[in-house]
Symmetry: D2
Subunit: 330 residues, 4 copies
Amino acid sequence: MVDTEERDLVARQLDELHAKYRTWGQDQVVSYYPEDAPEDERHHFGLAGTNVDGTQWRSGDCSVKFPLHSVSKVFTYGLALEDNGAAETLRRVGVEPSGDPFNSITFDEAHHRPHNPMINAGALVAANLVAGKDVDEKVDRILERYRVYSGNPELAVDQRILRAQLRSNDRNLGLCYIMRSLGMITGDIDEVVETYLSACSITVTAADLSVMGATLANGGVNPLTGERAIGREHVRDVISVMMTCGMYDAAGQWANEVGIPAKSGVSGDIVFVLPRYFGFGVYSPGLDVHGNSVRGVGLCRELSETFGLHVFADPADSPFGRVAQPAPTP
Amino acid sequence: MVDTEERDLVARQLDELHAKYRTWGQDQVVSYYPEDAPEDERHHFGLAGTNVDGTQWRSGDCSVKFPLHSVSKVFTYGLALEDNGAAETLRRVGVEPSGDPFNSITFDEAHHRPHNPMINAGALVAANLVAGKDVDEKVDRILERYRVYSGNPELAVDQRILRAQLRSNDRNLGLCYIMRSLGMITGDIDEVVETYLSACSITVTAADLSVMGATLANGGVNPLTGERAIGREHVRDVISVMMTCGMYDAAGQWANEVGIPAKSGVSGDIVFVLPRYFGFGVYSPGLDVHGNSVRGVGLCRELSETFGLHVFADPADSPFGRVAQPAPTP
Amino acid sequence: MVDTEERDLVARQLDELHAKYRTWGQDQVVSYYPEDAPEDERHHFGLAGTNVDGTQWRSGDCSVKFPLHSVSKVFTYGLALEDNGAAETLRRVGVEPSGDPFNSITFDEAHHRPHNPMINAGALVAANLVAGKDVDEKVDRILERYRVYSGNPELAVDQRILRAQLRSNDRNLGLCYIMRSLGMITGDIDEVVETYLSACSITVTAADLSVMGATLANGGVNPLTGERAIGREHVRDVISVMMTCGMYDAAGQWANEVGIPAKSGVSGDIVFVLPRYFGFGVYSPGLDVHGNSVRGVGLCRELSETFGLHVFADPADSPFGRVAQPAPTP
Amino acid sequence: MVDTEERDLVARQLDELHAKYRTWGQDQVVSYYPEDAPEDERHHFGLAGTNVDGTQWRSGDCSVKFPLHSVSKVFTYGLALEDNGAAETLRRVGVEPSGDPFNSITFDEAHHRPHNPMINAGALVAANLVAGKDVDEKVDRILERYRVYSGNPELAVDQRILRAQLRSNDRNLGLCYIMRSLGMITGDIDEVVETYLSACSITVTAADLSVMGATLANGGVNPLTGERAIGREHVRDVISVMMTCGMYDAAGQWANEVGIPAKSGVSGDIVFVLPRYFGFGVYSPGLDVHGNSVRGVGLCRELSETFGLHVFADPADSPFGRVAQPAPTP
């Protein structure tokens, strides 16, 4: 258990970080999504953390709802692993970073599959792999599982957002037709795309997202409810692919500098996961050129630095240093 | 401290793994390097581990010397970071996996630099970045530092191997001339190549290599001698790039399935590092199509599985589970 | 005018070539299209030539109908030029060979357009550029124009073939959705694809095809009817792109070895055009790995060699040698 | 024979074109080569044409010497064909346009050779293919042959230019080392590069260059001296590759818009060849972004337009129209 003093110390530090990046955002935030969002929604900024022991921290707008967008790729990939096993899933979608943008139309030619499940092509294959006889069953299955991850039984698809996505959807349809022509996906394309976009259109809060991350950090079991969201043998595969492919074409630099498995979405949301310790959810709509939340990225970097969270950090930099004694034998 | 019982248990398990993969190698080992190596040298197989508390394990041929080859890229990159700082080093060589083979002639066009220091182009730039007014000073500096990493003051460049490398060297010369034409390296090309190949030709044992890895695991301080080999602020950068780029074009799959930062060389050597815990050195000359040691890769996979070493493993799979309580606050 | 003696000599030589390649086909022909074609249709082999003075030669199955498939790309590109002008057409579709297969999903990124109108992506853009308020008007316009090219008022779309094409159409749909997402095409995608596939499904004979080629050779005027099929300022653009991009990924080698502007289709049809002199149509269903008719390619090569038709041939090799004196001033 | 009236008419038209582009150059010419050239040398502008019947036209600075640079690639490729035959030459260097810049380090992977002899990699292979036991013999052979092409027995390598080239030569050395590592070239690399750069450093005048082009137009026989410079069976291969690959990454657009086989060099020189009719040499040092002479390109375009020289032009646009009757049978 985190003791009271520690909990309060962390809370103060997170509030300070939040305050710092709120200001910083004023002139750094360069683009907004969607472009017609009301002015006041553009300045939302929430930061929430959940420890695997259940401790939670919240700074800023942690009750504002936003669609998961590409952050959903993480959890849908987990479902694909569960419903098909690791070997079959790997046969259908790779785990190599591609260095390409999220909507790239290149494939892993040698293995006849999308490069990884964090780019659109791979996420569409993962949606195709979710069990269910039609789009309704698949979306129900996704929703049910996301509710276990978050412990929030009221998660739902925002139908207005889904419809808007379906109207502006040429790239995903194009990817699906190309992939079906290559034998990478099967079945009805409109259903594949609707499954994928439904997951993208599920709305959560930064607090929900931090619990979803903490469930991965906790080996697949929601630390608040004790319910299992994903088989423990699949957790490391999901986290690995966040580490190597999660931050689009800046994945290598992210692994190097921040060193925390993470995934971002065009809502301006980021989930990040420190295995065995906690999950964090950030929400702030301004995006950088890579499509990552400007404030979110800045805050994650500093959080990693301040708390020594880099997974390959020197023990002396890290709170792990205090507890990881004696060092375990292999 | 690892207690006696644990130490002996681990020793027995490592011996069993070593015995299993020695047999397995008979029909799996598909290529040898160099082709004219004596028959008996081809079957060498050593496995050594060093814990950050100084405990060591050795199975098989742990006293046989072999040249580091590409494994040297890890430690020379560390020197480049020390001698130039992280920012300047990143300006000159990236940290993104390229998905290309080790001797690829592609570059990160957008940033005008090699993709990463684990492929030849990037390793040549790293050699160019080591401080020293000429090749002799640079090689002396490398040797001195490698001796601190290993705690072995007798490490030396094998001149016969170096000369053989210099004779069969068109690809590296070509890369250097191209890079100089692009402004990616400066100075005398023969000196850059000789610096790089001298580091590749330093001979070590599997035991030496495990200590070098343990020094990284221990935040840059050799756990046997207490000497610092690399500034602690650079350790995580070195380990990150092993994780994302260390195993050539199979880096993503390695991160996913094995989940331990590692680097291989064409001698059939592999170093792998579990931060805060230990380093391992493996030596077995048969190579797979990616240029990685066949037995070494098989053994690493099983070691990761058996001991739950994947950096993103579920705590219940892992010896960390026993000690990592309570979970630290961020 | 070709005199009687010459005409008969050429007729004999063409018959000999036809006979030679009919035999050669028996073991060379490696694939058939479509796979369910009746056995006897697979051995059709027609060769027809039309001189700009109206002389015609026919060897073999010159009255058998086949769908134009990709050969239609040539004539639809001509319509795009007429309906939009050369500058606007070039803005929308390039003229650079891509070295890629016909169904490639790569684009000319620098100019934000398909590489050229002889690959599917570019042919779809050309179909999109044909004047007409809907698919019916566009297809009527295409048909009307192809009838002028061929002098055959009965040319029609084979609806059975069109429907089969529409059922197996993922790649073209994928290309269109991707291109619309990139702003390369506009409007209804099903209509773009149906326009393109309707042109592909127009059936002709080898004799018709030779007249269509002769119309291009004759500066755009059908040599049998005297009707103009395409503005003379666009003829050279159409022929140039046949020369540099017509034979898929073997275009450079074709320009080098055969040296006659040509275009092939998966029916096993080839049109080739010697500007100012004649057009030829060949039909033989076996395809090589590039998707070109096996017999057709063999016959074209030998025809070029025998008659010295290479556009860059030495005058001494060529029938031009006899007439092209004195050499004109520039 | 060109009659006197025609000859004078053409002379007047060429003078007018020359005058027009001299003025146009003032603000269009954007870069100069070499950068330290004397101010007055930068404005040189010569245009010379030679008909296959020996008629010559000269406008402007037709007696100024300049190094051939990449224009030499055309004639050295001819020598490679002669000394090795077409099949062996094709095995070693392709004929496909690459769409890449002249100094690209990409190769035709499928065939394990440079894409074509008009980019540096391919030109170095061609130099490697010229007969001769060492660099002196090879350069003597090249010089001897270039003298036959031009009919100028005084052509020589400019040693000052050669030495400057050898000092700034990293890219070519890099390409050679890479190609030797891939088995694409053999032997001493310094000799390959010196052979290639010696050919580049041969100095000619615009008048010489027009005769060299006319020799190709005339089937390989110098129209002034009657001497054969290249076997007639190789002429069309040389001209084809000029057409498809001669103008760097703008080759397709050049073939489309200008339609005359041509090759440019960084001196600001261009040779172009209308088979069976004439060769032209242009010299004007300002270069566009593709590395082609600004005035030279403008002038070639207009010359093609004015005189209807496009090889695929409508007969009605062309002086061919006047003489090419009756149309020959194939």
